[in-house]
Structure formats: C-alpha cells, structure tokens
C-alpha cells in the first residue's frame, strides 16, 4: 500500500525535513491597508533552491506578499526573515532579492540592453562582464535583435521578456516573479518555463512566482501555495495539491473536478458516501481517522471511465448510470458530460439537482468501432480511491 501521489519531478523536499532551515520565513504576517486586511496572519517557509508558486484569484494578496519580501511594503504585524535574519529594517536596494514587476516597470528612457544592464551597473561590474551578461540574457529571452530598441517600441510580450531578463540579470539569491509569462504565447511560454527551471537549478536560485496559470504552476513549482482572501488554503507539492486537495476550495480552484455533496457513513465496516441526489451510496476510501458526517467528494474528470456496456460489479468500483449530455472533442482528449439517469437519482426537481459528471477520456486510438454519441446510455465508473473526501 505504498502508493504515492503522481510522479515526482526531483528528489527535493526540504520542507519535510525538520532539521532544514528555511531561506525565507514569513512569520505571522498581517498586512492591512487602512481597515482592509490584504494579508491575514500567514506564515510560510521557503527553502533555498526551491521553486515556489503562489496561486490564487485576483486580489487575494499575492503581489502584496511579494512586495513585503522585496521591501516595498512593511508588514503591519509579523516579521519577514531572510537567512534567519529579520530584514524589516533593510531598504529594498540592499536586499539580495530581485523582483519582476507585474506591470514590468521598464525604464522608458533606456534601451532594452540598458534596462537589462541597469542592475549590473549598480553593482559596479566591469563593462565587459556587463556586456556579456546582457547578451546572455537577451539570448535567453530571444530578444537579441531588439537590444537597441526602447520599451515603447516593443510588443507586450517582448516587454514582458525584457522585464524578465532584467530581473534575472543579477542572478539574485531570491527572485520574485509576478506573472512573468502571462503575455507570452503558449509555445514561447512553455519554452521559457523550462528555461526558468533550468536556470534555477543551474544557478541554485530560489524562485517565488505568481501565476494565474495553474498548468504553469504545476509545471515549474516544487510547491504551490493556494491563496484565498489573504491567507493560505494549502501549501503542498503540485501532485498533492491536485490529488489530495485539503478543501473544497482548493479542489475547485485547481483543475477540473466533479464535486458531490453528501455525507460519509460507515456501513458494515466499509466507508460509503451517500447523497440525497443518489439512490445508492458510493464506495469511498478516506483516511481511517476521517469522521462520519457531512462531507463532499471530489473526483477529477480524467479518473472517470465511460462505457457503453455495463461493467462488472467489483469491490471498490463506483458506478453510476447516465446519459451523454454533451461531448467536447479537444483533439487529445474528449470531455463527456454525463447526466445521471433517473434510476440512480432520487432528485425531485430533475433539471437542477441531477448531477452532471464530467469525464475526460484520452483519445488513445484514432479509429473507434462504435463511438459514444449524444444521448447514449452509458456507465460512468471510477476506483473508490480516486474520490477525495473533503470536509464540507
């Protein structure tokens, strides 16, 4: 029963090691603007060489948290520690932290090359070194032909790359990236993501990245913090966030999910999930210490199977009958919306309470004998351990 949650990118988990000391420590931080609380008593440890992502809806306080680390906001309460030292008295220009601004903040009167060289010049590096580093950065973000242009002569995506290059140029101990890739097209974004991961590993930097793109957070981060209204909902590696969300909010926020509300029960020694909408309880496998009572289950769409023939009953297999309501063909996968049939549903008001399950099925073969079509009667099944039981 030594199952783990999905693949592991690299063997790196200082947060599990009680003897490891964090590089950055937010200690019971609260930040208020007037009587509005932007950050509400959060604590967070980030370790050296970690790639840490902040994920959360707009206005939840991601930028504010970063600005406190960069030194542009002072916490109303709590302390920020860097390398074990309280940095609240250190002015921004003396912190070994560089930030890429969400608004880019490029110097409009300087060329792209001068923007990138700005930080290096402050350190008084020899001109030759600066030039070499600028060129390296330009090639990293693929902007060599634009070195002499001014920011207002660039496209939005190009400007974003200049901002990224400028913040990377000094190779700071800690790099804060506020939405670094949002304006790039998918291909360039993916390339840059891998460049960033590469660079981070090669140079041993610590990255704190804000993104609205969950896939991006999943790709690059060692750990993800899901924020909501100025506090953390969950801080865990991507696979844990995805496969073992600790709340309904996180499950819903990250990726697609089928959520069913009901109650956890114990029947004949086995745990089951029952819901007013369902006539039969579903088998579930929550951790043993989960108490009975009101709960909700979350099942990822790709964990569901859809078949035209009734599968054999088996232990630990959840099965529901339904009709295909809608099909979205995405190329690599197809998404089936299956409306549960009357047999399995006790719902009185059918239109609203009948749950519709989303199942993502990989299109593994090019040709299918009998494709599933609209209005087909189908069986939706999943393994009991694929459903995560969450407190309601």
């Amino acid at each position: 029963m030594a199952k783990t949650l999905g693949p592991v990118r690299r063997a790196f988990a200082p947060w599990d090691d009680p003897s490891a000391t964090p590089l950055i420590r937010f200690e019971a931080i609260t930040k208020r603007f007037g009587d509005f609380t932007a950050i509400d008593n959060v604590s967070l440890d980030i370790y050296e060489r970690e790639f840490f992502a902040l994920l959360g809806p707009s206005g939840c306080g991601k930028t504010t948290l970063m600005r406190m680390l960069a030194g542009f906001e002072t916490p109303t309460e709590g302390r920020v520690l860097l390398d074990g030292e309280d940095i609240s008295q250190v002015p921004p220009h003396k912190r070994p932290v560089n930030m890429m601004f969400q608004s880019y903040a490029l110097f409009p009167h300087m060329s792209v090359a001068d923007n990138i060289a700005f930080g290096l010049k402050q350190d008084g590096l020899p001109a030759g070194d600066i030039k070499a580093r600028v060129e390296e950065m330009l090639s990293l973000v693929k902007l060599e032909p634009f070195a002499r242009r001014r920011p207002d002569q660039l496209s939005g995506g190009q400007r974003q790359r200049v901002a990224l290059a400028r913040s990377l140029a000094k190779r700071p101990k800690v790099l804060l990236l506020d939405e670094p890739l949002g304006a790039l097209d998918k291909k360039l974004r993916e390339e840059t993501q891998f460049e960033l991961m590469d660079l981070q590993e090669k140079l041993g930097m610590t990255f704190l990245i804000v993104t609205h793109d969950q896939e991006e957070a999943m790709t690059v981060a060692d750990r993800i913090a899901v924020m909501n209204h100025g506090s953390f909902e969950q801080i865990d590696p991507p696979s844990v966030i995805y496969e073992q969300p600790n709340s309904r909010y996180v499950a819903d926020f990250i990726g697609d999910v089928n959520l069913l509300d009901g109650a956890l029960e114990t029947r004949g020694g086995a745990r089951v999930f029952s819901s007013k909408a369902l006539s039969n309880p579903l088998p579930v496998m929550p951790p043993d210490d989960t108490p009975d009572g009101s709960a909700c289950i979350a099942i990822r769409p790709e964990k569901l199977s859809v078949s035209l023939t009734e599968p054999e009953q088996a232990d630990g297999l959840a099965m529901l009958k339904g009709t295909v309501w809608d099909i979205a063909y995405m190329g690599d996968v197809s998404i089936f919306h299956v409306r549960l049939s009357d047999e399995v549903c006790t719902g009185q008001d059918k239109d609203e309470t009948v749950p519709v399950l989303r199942a993502t099925i990989a299109n593994t073969t090019r040709l299918v004998e009998r494709p599933i079509a609209w209005d087909d009667a189908v069986w939706v099944t999943w393994q009991a351990d694929a459903a995560v039981v969450l407190p309601r």
């Binding site: 002015p91 921004p92 220009h93 560089n98 930030m99 601004f101 409009p108 700005f118 000094k170």
Partner: protein
C-alpha cells in the same frame, strides 16, 4: 480623396485662422518696428523720418532700398550701454531661471507625490496668483522689500535685525531676482508637475529593487523622465525674463541693466523711436535662438510620445 468641397474649405479655414492671427498680430507689427528701426530720428510726430513711403510707388521703393540706413544698429554696436544691457539681461534671466528651477522642482515634486485628492487644490494654489494683476503683485513686493517694509519689520520682530537696522533689498538686482523668480514660478512648476505626475512610481521601485539607492534613482530615473518638463519650464521662464521690463523698473536699482528697461527709456524718455526699434529687433533676434531650440525640444518630445 473626394472629401467634399465644403469640408476641404472648412479645413483650409481652420488652418488659416492661426496664420492670419500671426500675420496680423505678429508679423505686421514686426515689419512696422523693423521699418522704424531703419529710419532716422526726427523732431516730429511720429518722431522719425520714414524710409519707405508705401504710397509712392514701386520705383521709389526700389530707390529707397538703396538708401537703407543701418545707422541705428551701428549705433547700438558702438555704445557699450546696449551690449551691456543685452548681456546683463541674459545673465539675469539665466540666473533667475536656475533659481526658479531649484525652487520649482521641489514644489512640483511635492505636488506630484501628494495624495491624489489634494493635487487639484495644490494646482489651484499655484495658479491662484494669476487672478490678481501682475502689476499689483510686483507693487506688493515693494511694500515687502522696502527698507521700512514688511520684511524689515519681520526681521526686527524675530530679532535678526536690531531696532534701527533695515533690509536694503529694494532697488537692487537681488530684488529683481526675487521679483522674477516669484512672478515666473508657476510657469516652471506647471510643466514640471505635469512631467512628474506622469512618472510611474513603480519605476523608482524597480530601480531600487535592482540595487540603486533612492538618491541615485532620483538622478537616473526621475530627472531624465522629467527632462521634457524641465526644458519646457526653463524656456517658459527664460524667454520672457530676458525682455522683462516691469520688474527691473519697479524693483531694480539704477544699476540694474536690463534690455527691456533700456528700450523703455529710449522710447519714452529719449523719444528715439528708431534706436528703440532697433533694440527691439535685436532682442527678438537674440531670443530666436532659445525659442527655436525650445520648439525643437517640444517637437522631439511629441515625436517620442507617439
């Protein structure tokens, strides 16, 4: 291209209006002044012998061209009074401009960093003096600066002056500086404020984030980005200050040479219209250099903004 006759005419009319304005109110008077400056002085009304009699026909006009007299200009070049007046005017205008910039920059900076709601009020306060006549405000300075004036009173009250000591500022070049700086300050503050207000605060944060101390960030970020405002403000102060007449006349001493004042004396005291016209023409020529420079700076800025 068939924009329609009426709209084409409308456009021509719109373009013509400022040209007609310039023609009637700038070029025509200038030609008159130029003509007087080439004439000879006479005891008459008006007190000069006109060189060109425009009513006398083309042949006469051509003949007159040959008899043009540059005597007035030679006279100006020969008399150090005029050259000194020009130089002194330029110097006073330059120093005043620098002083205005030094005082105006912190004011504009303070306004631009004030809370958003307060800015229109501060702007109002800067413009407020324009609601009173310029002349009255300069007279008010006499009341402040004169030996028995408010400043002396103030000095005596706070104890930097003993009982019978007085400030002797009125009728000195210092008083002229005070007057010019005071009068032209809004012309410096407003363009500076416009430039500084547009400045994105996150640029300074970015500079600091990259290791630049705040004071250096001011020099490498704020000042270059405010440069268009600085240039505009300096020209707006310098150009009128060179020809300033009222302030040196009311506040300056007899030793404060300024070309505007010399011109006035020539015109009204000596009643030498031709010479004073020549002074005016030369003043314009002297100012054309900064005016053209100003316009080019403005144009460059507009092109950069596009």
């Amino acid at each position: 291209m068939s924009a329609g006759g009426s709209s084409a005419w409308g456009r021509r009319l719109v373009i013509a209006v400022p040209y007609i304005w310039l023609l009637v109110f700038f070029l025509a008077p200038f030609v008159l002044v130029l003509r007087i400056s080439l004439s000879e002085v006479a005891i008459a009304m008006p007190p000069y012998v006109p060189v060109f009699d425009l009513g006398a026909g083309w042949d006469r006009f051509v003949a007159d061209l040959g008899r043009l007299s540059f005597a007035n200009y030679e006279w100006l070049a020969g008399d150090p009074l005029y050259i000194n007046s020009y130089l002194s005017s330029l110097r006073i205008a330059f120093v005043s401009t620098v002083l205005t910039l030094l005082i105006g920059f912190p004011i504009a900076y303070g306004m631009a960093s004030a809370p958003r709601g307060l800015r229109p009020i501060l702007m109002m306060l800067v413009i407020l003096p324009f609601w009173t006549s310029f002349l009255i405000r300069v007279y008010a300075w006499i009341g402040i600066l004169k030996p028995e004036g408010l400043l002396t009173l103030f000095g005596q009250t706070i104890g930097i002056l003993s009982g019978d000591e007085q400030f002797r500022i009125l009728n000195t070049t210092t008083a002229v500086y005070i007057g010019i700086v005071y009068s032209y300050l809004p012309f410096m503050v407003l363009p500076l404020y416009a430039a500084l207000e547009r400045l994105d605060g996150s640029l300074l944060e970015a500079a600091q984030d990259l290791g630049c101390p705040p004071l250096k960030a001011f020099w490498v970020i704020t000042v270059p980005l405010a440069l268009p405002g600085i240039i505009a403000g300096c020209f707006l102060v310098f150009i009128p200050a060179v020809g300033e007449f009222v302030i040196p006349d009311l506040l300056g001493g007899s030793d404060t040479l300024m070309i505007g004042r010399t011109l006035w004396n020539e015109f009204f005291n000596n009643r030498d219209w031709p010479v004073s016209s020549a002074v005016a023409v030369l003043l314009l020529l002297v100012l054309i250099i900064p005016i053209v420079a100003f316009q080019q700076a403005q144009q460059r800025q507009q092109e950069a903004a596009r």
